[in-house]
């Protein structure tokens, strides 16, 4: 019935008419074979054909970024942004390293709040937009810095979002970066396709997939793994967040989000993807995010901090091992 269209990889959809010219062709939507095709309008309306004019600029800008890491999860609210922030902070703890954090969640940017820079604005200079610096070596870019007020909704359809993502990659004066961590919105849609396509030439080091232990979330992560496979992105590993809760009163651990189907561990085994670690639920993580302070610096004694640092070490090792080759 409904074939999952792989337009991003194969330009001829499986449900297309026999002589489909391909969705990326100049003739898409205009060829004789397109008459009567259910998707003719869509093809015909996608006017810009051929390579995106932004690509060479992005390549230049990204040439000085050593590692690019995507933080993905199919489901929302599993802790992508929180994890991105901890990763950013942990990288930036080394004063020799330059780190950038880019938030491509256009409709629900949380990164500014989590880093405690929600009221900042972006300045533009002759060399481009300058990111907001939380520390000397930690720059951030998010659509949250461009809204007149935090209450404003960004009601944009795909093409506008893509335009902004292209700008984030080509117009932001990131400078020389050791790490660029990219926080994404939930799902597998415009934002994800755009980031991956824009960065194809300069190469993405890999993706970290964040999940919670329940099957509902794992289901979405499986889709995300499928997405990475289709797009040819390496999966660095899985992180299981909100894994168990230690009651601050009696110190007993209980499972709020019970791993009914074996959790990330089983998924890791099934798919052969490394499980980087499990981060327990700590109410202070959410609080730190609300106040915009680094959880790792505030509560270094929490078991969650240990888990985070352990995961980050593993990621560094995976990335480091690669650059040494």
């Amino acid at each position: 019935m409904l074939a999952v269209q792989r337009s991003a990889v194969v330009s001829v959809p499986s449900n297309a008419p026999e002589h489909c010219p391909g969705t990326e062709s100049e003739l898409a939507g205009k060829a004789d074979a397109c008459n009567g095709c259910a998707n003719q309008d869509i093809c015909a309306s996608n006017t810009p054909k051929g390579p995106d004019p932004a690509l060479p600029f992005i390549r230049d800008r990204m040439a000085v970024v050593k590692h690019k890491i995507l933080v993905l999860s199919g489901k929302g609210g599993v802790g992508k942004s929180t994890f991105t922030a901890q990763l950013g902070w942990a990288f930036a703890a080394d004063e020799q390293l330059q780190t950038g954090v880019m938030d491509v969640d256009i409709c629900g940017p949380s990164i500014p709040t989590i880093f405690g820079v929600a009221s900042e604005q972006v300045h533009s200079s002759s060399s481009g937009w300058s990111p907001v610096y939380v520390q000397d070596n930690l720059g951030i870019m998010s659509v949250g810095f461009m809204l007149p007020s935090s209450r404003d909704a960004v009601m944009w359809r795909g093409p506008k979002k893509n335009g902004l993502i292209a700008q984030f990659l080509k117009d932001v004066d990131w400078g020389d970066l050791d790490y660029l961590v990219i926080d994404t919105p939930p799902g597998t849609s415009d934002e994800h396709l755009s980031v991956v396509q824009y960065l194809k030439e300069s190469g993405i080091d890999g993706a970290v997939l964040v999940t919670t232990p329940q099957e509902v979330s794992l289901q979405d992560v499986r889709r995300e793994i499928d997405f990475c496979r289709k797009m040819g992105i390496r999966v660095l590993g899985l992180v299981e967040n909100m894994s168990g809760f230690v009651c601050p009163g009696c110190k007993t651990e209980s499972q709020i989000f019970r791993p009914t189907t074996g959790g990330a561990e089983r998924l890791a085994k099934e798919t052969g993807i490394q499980l980087l670690g499990k981060v327990p639920l700590d109410p202070r993580i959410g609080k730190s995010a609300d106040y915009g302070v680094s959880f790792l610096d505030e509560y270094p004694d929490s078991p969650a901090s240990d888990a985070y640092l352990d995961i980050i070490d593993k990621i560094k090792k995976i990335l480091g091992g690669e650059s040494a080759l």
Binding site: M1, L2, V4, Q5, R6, S7, A8, I42, G74, K75, G76, G77, V78, I106, C107, G108, S110, T113, S150, R151, D152, A153, V154, M155, W156, R157, G158, P159, K161, P185, P186, G187, T188, S189, D190, L193, T212, Q214, E215, V216, R222, E224, I225, D226, M231, F245, C247, P248, G249, C250, T252, S254, Q255, I256, R258, T260, P283, G286, A289, D290
Partner: protein
């Protein structure tokens, strides 16, 4: 202004109320609230007919939550036949469900679509599904305020007078920020808001009974007061519910309480029964009673203001 007749308005002519469940942020419990709303509306009267439409195209969770994983959609001469969650119960089925999850060959398949494809799918969901007579259609949305939401509002414009929204949030500042964006969105498209539900508000330790505010607390009430939106209630984290909605397939937990008279294979029907036993069901049924009373007045107000 004469309302134009479209395939969507023709199809939805027999639907009395359309409730859109939204939230700016992901993972705050939209799908779980949608599923619970549907279950409670279904239980609110012996002949209430309820539909659930899942327009979260890249991350459909409704099939799993209602125990309908693995079902497929059938085509009939009168459009797609939705999957009925209570098909195996006695009496006429009256909880219809439609999601992109039913159309996937494998549940691990990803739907990698850009906006225009999503728009077309939503239009098809609204115009081609044979809902039949419905009292309530609960629409579960993806996070954000983007293609899916704009398409939904656009296609539902001819039936705008029957639309209303419920906003779900969790108590942290980060989630409230996004809920605020969602509220701005409903105002921009003149969608009447039935109210705000604060989800994941506190967790009761099963060991010592202490309430921990895992994601802080009280933020939802404050926002509702500040913005002049009705506050529908707060739902604490209910592990029983999490497990029920997550593992709707396994009946081992439900069997433990001795109520094992229903066929254990009738797993989706089991969800309906077992849901009524959770503590969340009582909270939500109070919310639903309230909603049923306010629905006509909210919708009426939107009619008169747009006239």
């Amino acid at each position: 202004m004469a309302v134009q007749e479209t395939p969507v308005s023709r199809r939805l002519k027999s639907v009395k109320h359309i409730i859109i469940v939204c939230s700016g942020k992901g993972g705050v419990g939209k799908s779980s609230v949608s599923a619970q709303l549907a279950l409670s509306l279904h239980a609110s009267s012996p002949n209430a007919r309820v539909g659930v439409l899942d327009v979260d195209l890249t991350g459909p969770s409704i099939p799993r939550m209602l125990g309908l994983d693995g079902h497929g959609v059938h085509q009939s001469s009168d459009g797609w036949v939705p999957v009925y969650a209570d098909a195996l119960g006695d009496g006429e089925p009256r909880l219809a469900c439609m999601s992109v999850g039913f159309l996937l060959k494998k549940k691990g398949d990803s739907v990698v679509w850009r906006g225009p494809k999503k728009n077309a799918m939503i239009r098809q969901f609204l115009s081609d599904v044979r809902w039949g007579e419905l009292d309530y259609l609960v629409v579960d949305t993806p996070p954000g305020t983007s293609d899916e939401h704009l398409s939904l509002i656009e296609h539902l414009a001819p039936v705008h007078s029957r639309l209303s929204a419920v906003i779900v949030t969790t108590p942290q500042a980060v989630a409230l920020l996004d809920a605020m964006k969602c509220l701005s969105f409903t105002r921009a498209v003149a969608l009447p808001v039935l109210g705000l539900i604060e989800n994941m508000s506190g967790y009761v330790c099963p060991c010592c009974g202490d309430v921990s505010n895992v994601f802080s607390t009280g933020g939802g009430v404050e926002m509702a007061i500040r913005e002049g939106v009705p506050f529908l209630g707060s739902m604490p984290i209910d592990t029983e519910l999490v497990t029920l909605l997550d593992a709707a397939e396994s009946t081992d937990l439900g069997a433990a309480d001795g109520q094992h008279d229903e066929d254990s294979e009738v797993r989706s029907f089991g969800v309906l029964q077992r849901y009524q036993k959770t503590s969340s069901a009582k909270l939500l049924s109070a919310i639903v009673e309230n909603l049923i009373l306010t629905l006509p007045s909210v919708e009426h107000a939107s009619v008169s203001s747009s006239a």
